[in-house]
Symmetry: D2
C-alpha cells in the first residue's frame, strides 16, 4: 500500500444550499488526489495522456460521514492498496478535516487503455517500476 496526501481549500462554488460541499464534487477532490499521487512518483497523468494512455473511470463509490464546508482546508488521503499489474487500477480516497476527522471515504476504479487502439493496457512500465518497491515491502 502507498498513500499520499493533498490539501484542498473548499470553494464557495463547491457548496450547495444546504451549506455543505455538494456530494458530486468529492469526485473532483479524489481526482486531484490521484493527480498528486502520480506526481509524487515523478510522473503526471497529463503526460501519460499525451503519450497515448487513457485512464477511464469505470466505477465509483463514496460514503459521506461528516460534511465538508466552505473554506475548510481538507486533506485528501489517496491510497493504492494493490499494485495494478493488469489494466485495472483501484484508488481509495479518504477526506479528512483539518482536525483529522474522517469526512468521506471513496473508491474509484479506473481502466488503463491504449488510446491508439482502445485496448486495455497496463500502467507505463517506468511508473510501475517506481511503484513496485512499495508493494513488495508489504508482501514480506
Amino acid at each position: 500500500m502507498y498513500t499520499t496526501e493533498t490539501r484542498i481549500r473548499v470553494r464557495y462554488a463547491e457548496t450547495d444550499q444546504m451549506g455543505v460541499v455538494y456530494h458530486g464534487n468529492y469526485f473532483a477532490f479524489f481526482e486531484a488526489g490521484r493527480g498528486e499521487f502520480i506526481r509524487e512518483f515523478g510522473f503526471s497523468y497529463a503526460d501519460m495522456e499525451k503519450q497515448g494512455l487513457l485512464l477511464f473511470i469505470v466505477d465509483v463509490h463514496c460514503k459521506y460521514i461528516r460534511p465538508a464546508r466552505y473554506d475548510d482546508l481538507i486533506t485528501i488521503r489517496t491510497s493504492l492498496k494493490e499494485l495494478p499489474i493488469h489494466h485495472k487500477v483501484e484508488f481509495y480516497s479518504d477526506v479528512l478535516s483539518e482536525q483529522g476527522e474522517l469526512l468521506a471515504s471513496g473508491k474509484v476504479v479506473l481502466y488503463c487503455m491504449d488510446a491508439a487502439n482502445m485496448k486495455r493496457s497496463t500502467l507505463p512500465e517506468p511508473f510501475l517500476e517506481k511503484l513496485r518497491p512499495h508493494f513488495e515491502q508489504t508482501n514480506n
Copy 2:
C-alpha cells in the same frame, strides 16, 4: 417499485478533455432525476426543504458502461425499489442513450432529517400516502 424518466441534454460544461461527460457530473443528473420523481407525485423537494425536511446524501455509487457525450439527449430513469418506511431512502438511477443503451447505473442513499432538531425522520406522510399504492401492488 416506481420509476420515472427525465430527459437531459448534455452540456459542454459537463464534458472533460476526454470528450465525455466527467464522471462526477452524473450525480447532478441523478439529482435532477430524483427531483422529477418527487414532482411527478405533486410534491417538490424545494418545498419539503422549506417545510423543514432535509435529505442528506450518505452513500453513492455509479458504474460507467458507455460514455455520454456533449449534446447527447440522455434519459435518467429513476427508481424507488422499496417504500421508504424509515429515514432511509434509496434511489436507483439508470442513464440511457437516445438509442436506449445503458450508459451508467447508479444508486444514491439519502437520510431524511428533521431540520429543526437534526433527528432522523420519515418522508412527509402526504408523499408516502401517494407512494404507498405503487408498492402495495408489487407486494400482491
Copy 3:
C-alpha cells in the same frame, strides 16, 4: 435580430450556500441556450465541431439582477443581434424567472476557428444562409 428560448430547471448542484445559483454557473445556462439557438436552425454545434470548426470563447460578461434558486424553471432567451459575417459571433443571453422577471443578463463573444489550421473562419455557409433572412428583414 433573432431570439430563441430554452427552459432550464435549476439543479441543487448549481446552488451555493447563499441559497442561490452560483454566479459562474450562468455561463453553462447561456451555453445551453446557444446550443438550442443553433439547433433551431437545424444544425448542432456538436456536428460543427466534428466538421472541424471550433467556437472559442473570448469574452464574457454577466450582470446579476435577481437570484435564480433551486428548482426554479428559468428561461434562457438567446439573441444574435447582428449577422456574424466575420469570425466574431456575439450572443446575448437573458435569464428570466417563470414570472417573466429578468434575473440576469449576459453577453458571450466567440471566435470561429478552423480546427485544421487554427485560423479564424466564418460560421459554416449553410448555417449563415439560414440566418441571413432574419437579419435582412431588420435592415429594411
Copy 4:
C-alpha cells in the same frame, strides 16, 4: 492598490472537450483568489458570513487570452484597485501561466449586504482598517 497571489492546479473536472478549462470555471478560480486576498489580512469570508455579512456578486467580466489546460499550475493575481468605502467592492483577477503569460483577465463586482435586513453595508471596519494603509500610500 493591493494584490495577492494564489496558485491553483487545474483539475480534469474543470476542462471541457476542447481540452481547455471551461470558460465558466474561471469564476471559481477568481473566487478562490478573493478568499486568499481576505485571508492575507487575517480575516475569512466564511467568518464574515457567519457574522451576518453577505457579499453578493452583481457583475462579472472575463476576457480569455490563452487557454489554461489540465494540470497547469496557474496563478490567480487578485487586486483591489480602490478602497471600498461604500457597499461596492471591485476585485480584478488575472490568471497567469507558470511561465508568467497572461491567460485571462477578469473583474468581479460585489455588493456588501447586511444579512439581517438585506440592506447595503460597508465591509467590516476591522478589515477596512487593515486595508486603508495600502490605499493611502497610493494617494500620496
